[in-house]
Point group: C2
Chain length 286, copies 2
């Protein structure tokens, strides 16, 4: 299972429709949060994501609207019975959290920051404020056997384990090399750029992603304001998605001025047809 | 207009039904908040209370679940155009807020802490944690004329203003004293005890109140736990309401364990019939 749930999709302040930024990534038994704005714990309950099983929290940048809810969530996790489970907390430089012994606080810096069972998370620097990073969830490659071929070369039983361990094995047909009987299935990939001006770093990080989650605070008529505030327009987000060759684009961090998001959607789809506007509670299975 | 709106009524952590503690008091053009838990700004939007006009925020005690939302709200008010309006912020000792020049931060201590147009707010110490206080909203007394009697004694036109200014006035009927032609209409009174064990201080403060808002974290079977944690049961809150002779009692700060609150309500009504359980969004006009 690999499911992305949009917990909050508003920019700067909430609306009755949209909560503060947070994205939940559920991978097998792992539950990660990317950003954790005010109200996240309640949104997690509302959208039945199971806040109690959060393993890791990642904050993209040190603006209050992206992390205030982390304190509320940690406070609630602290009450867990019989004891809170460990949570890894990845913070941008300049931020800290104290008073939660079950939370292991680490700093976000470019590169791999978490190696999990069957996946990794890495960070890449983006242009917004000091310490801003986007995140890449990358499922590990899996080695798959061409079963018919493997059998025809005499592989059976424990030989499958042996060839994976040693890269080769001897059978009745002679030596069989792992690469002759297997293929590599690439892992699934999800990229979230956080708040940012559009940039090459995001394009590079998002290359071939199954899903790019990009902010779209403004429409194209407000391009100058977007640039000045280091944010993106929907069209700029779509350009990044196109250049990176992602499968689909979800736009989030929608300014409260857009009660109607049809303009944002049109501007994005004109450039990258596989665009959509995330709503609170939207779940995407990858 | 004097309206109390329950913005959040849960204890410790939110539920899908109940947000974190906050109570809005709307008196004429004033809008006050008593406590400001996580998610308050969004709840204010949801219940159409008009978060932009908040004049004053009062925090009962320095537990995160009662004040985290203040930071989110101040952050949003900071974005007000053309400029944020002044907000008075009353904090328990040990707490501070920085970075909001439009917020005037003051410390809560027992006694009158705010004198407004036609009302005052005073604080009283309660038993919970260090620095815990409850609040009393007290509308000023109004002087009302017995109009018939006043006219019969020759009061008319500007003499009404004169007698209010000087306490007496000369008319064709001789000297008329203010107290002979007026009566005092007592002001409306609302009391909120915050988190607390039941206590005489609350009973004293709540004497004759139109509305007592009291926590009811537990039912009677959990009396010991309530006592240990310096909280109250619904029955204990009702005892306070009864002893104070209030008109009505609203129970709030409901533990998430009570999806069904009928037991709490029964236990309270057995002692004080004019009890009710506050739900998020409940508005009471006094």
């Amino acid at each position: 299972m690999l499911r992305v749930t949009f917990i909050g999709t508003s920019a700067s302040m909430p609306t009755t429709e949209r909560g503060m930024p947070a994205i939940a990534i559920k991978y097998e038994s792992e539950l990660m949060l990317w950003d954790c704005g005010e109200g996240t714990q309640r949104q997690l309950m509302r959208y039945k994501v199971g806040y109690g099983s959060v393993n890791a929290i990642f904050i993209t940048h040190p603006h209050l609207d992206h992390y205030l809810g982390m304190f509320g969530l940690l406070e609630t996790l602290k009450l867990s019975s019989p004891a809170p489970k460990p949570v890894r907390v990845f913070l941008p430089r300049g931020m800290d959290v104290e008073g939660y012994p079950f939370a292991k606080v680490e700093k976000v810096k470019a590169g791999e920051i978490l190696r999990g069972r069957g996946f990794s998370v890495r960070a890449f620097a983006v242009k917004h404020c000091r310490g801003s990073h986007g995140f890449v969830f990358q499922e590990d490659e899996k080695i798959k056997f061409h079963e018919e071929k493997a059998h025809s070369l005499g592989l059976q039983g424990t030989l499958f384990r042996e060839i994976q361990k040693n890269g080769k094995v001897k059978t009745g047909s002679g030596e069989v090399r792992l690469e002759d009987v297997t293929w590599r299935m690439r892992g699934r990939k999800i990229v979230y750029a956080g708040d940012c001006a559009p940039g090459d770093a995001t394009t590079e990080a998002a290359k071939g992603a199954d899903l790019l989650i990009h902010e779209a605070t403004f429409d194209s008529s407000m391009k100058d304001e977007a640039s000045e505030r280091m944010h993106s327009t929907a069209a700029q987000a779509a350009e990044v998605a196109k250049a990176a060759g992602v499968k689909r684009l979800a736009l989030t961090h929608i300014s409260p001025r857009y009660a109607d998001t049809s303009q944002l959607l049109e501007e994005a789809r004109a450039i990258f047809p596989e665009s959509e506007i995330a709503e609170d509670g939207l779940a995407i299975d990858i």
